[in-house]
Amino acid sequence: MPEGLNLAPGKSARASNGLPVVLVGPPNVGKSTLFQALTGVRARIVNYPGATVDLQEGRWVGTGTGEGWRVLDTPGIVGLEPRGADEAVTRQILFPAGVARNPRVVLVLDQTQLARHLYLAFQLREAGLPVVVALTMGDLLAEQGHEVRVADLEASLRMPVVRVDTGDPKSLEVLAEAVAALPVVTTAPEPPVPWDRARVEDARQDADALALRVLVPVPRPDPRVRLPLHERLDPWLLHPFWGFLVFFVAMAAVFSAVFWVAQPAMEVVDALVGSAGGWLHDRLPPGALADFVRDGLVAGLGSVLMFVPQIALLFLAMILLEDSGYLARAATMADRPLSVLGLEGRSFVPLLSGFACAIPAMLATRTIPDARIRRLTILVVPLASCSARLPVYALILGFLVPADKPWLGGVALATLYLGGLALAALLAWCVSRALPADVRASVPFVLELPVYRRPVAKRVIQGVLLKVRSYLERATLPITIVATLLWAATYFPVAGDDPVLRMQGSYAAHWGKAIDFAFAPLGLDWRAGVALIAAFAAREVFVASLALALGVTAVGDGLQAGLLASMAKATLQDGAPMFTLASGVALLVYFVVAMQCASTFVVAWRESGSARVAWGQLLGFNALAYGLAALVYRALA
């Protein structure tokens, strides 16, 4: 998959002017819907240097030019002066450096928002780009009893204007003809100088006047005077009681989808990967190669595929909420408490998903337009206790909590979850305070609340598939490599069939022994240490690795009982028991705070576009976890 965006003339140079046709427009105008209608399923995600948003590129066929044109969807903008990293990308695409031509632009405008959106048309006109204006939402405008006089708008803007309806292929053909007829602008593209206040105000007034002139009343199909749905619903959906009730139900649904509904699907993936690995293993000569294929390569791929059900379900829920219009209302509800922490309303769903798994959660931050807030959200997401920590919590609490006081385990578990959340809040607060005040306050937080609409099944499914594909393309290789390396570290150099001997004689065990002293402040020795190292493949691996390190060979249901018995017997070098209340709690604290998931590391790097965030989590959270665990051990021992 290409890292950069190819702006050089491609093989369809003749047809597409060498540059892709660029779809530009304000947020929520139906730009992506139009893109999907033009390109169908032939779209793919392209990376753009410095951008972490999904940029979709596709081929616009049905243009009467054979192979069609490349067409690129861009992050929504209000004006040409960028407000964040993503809007800066749109600007870079509109004014590519080092190319002596201008890309052809389809400016997508919502007819019901004409007065506001014409502003962008004025800016593009000044920039001298070849632009076709595509008007969407004609059905809504008709419902409101108006129509746009296209010829007047064309004459005033001096740009071709086309009404498009994604359900009507004819209108898309007309759009294609208009794009084909655009003049070729061969001057080097040049971004316009930013407008000052007076200029902005003038343009706004002109836009108002023009919108007023071109909008004409038409007979309504439904003459009954009725308040639009949003005016009736919004006061309720933002109500201090009813609003929270709906918010709670919607978020509970999202959480259940990721936490519980995904579970059976993940078990199926796990079983399939397991049997595929076993099948290959049996067909290879016994030895390191067969073990590598089963436990390294296929298991590594499995740890990529494992997250697909969660990602698919989270995005299914999110796209349904977003397309229906509710997600923006939910974000409005959640904004106030999150704004105190330097986050915003749209950080809520990712943080919530983080309690299931950090990986889909980080992918979900793409809905946050401000790159700074998106990075901050990604930074704190791993502090939400994900479901992979649950088996570890269960094991250690099972060891610590007396059988006659099960309620104590429940309280302890809740404390662990709340502790992680509190730490996430504290960290977000500290990091956002560290930014200079003028940076924080320069861009207003504005969320456009779209009209309520019924989600379209085809668009929802395409959206989910695109997210899953984008994840697989970005994450498969790095996660598999890291998982395979971790496998090798716990496998080599000892040959033989006995997994206990192999584990105890592995490189990971050697490293664990070499830094044995490092585990002493936690009241542990290298055997717990090697399990901690192995847990970087996935946290729940800790349980199985600890069993191997302690010499427990039981599998399945017997594992837990055998492991608990071995933990009770395990002693440190001086003969004192290793697993005590102090070391157990220290281990719990470590797991709450530590970022010990190689897949999360990879995805955090990819999604934040920042090595600092990923390394900061890996080194910072682990150092903090270690320090806190050592403090707790010392206090309790």
Binding site: A115, E201, A331, T332, F445, E448, L449
Partner: protein, 70 residues
């Protein structure tokens, strides 16, 4: 100002105050002098207000809404 308005009330903006880039962004979004702005809803606990401006519904934080004078 926004705390004293009732839901459904409409005001006409007389000025947009604040730092230069914030003001320009607010103006680009449609908040210019003479614009009618209607209060549609309020998020609880001092959360954003939802206003209608030029036919769009925007949720905007109180700290940003404070820049809008009527």
């Amino acid at each position: 100002m926004w705390s004293s308005l009732n839901l459904g009330d409409e005001v006409i903006l007389t000025d947009v105050e604040g730092g230069d880039s914030r003001v320009r962004h607010l103006m680009e979004l449609g908040f210019t002098r003479g614009t009618r702005v209607r209060l549609l809803a309020r998020a609880p606990f001092g959360g954003p207000v939802v206003v209608e401006v030029r036919g769009a519904r925007l949720a905007i934080r109180l700290s940003d809404a404070a820049c809008l004078k009527a």
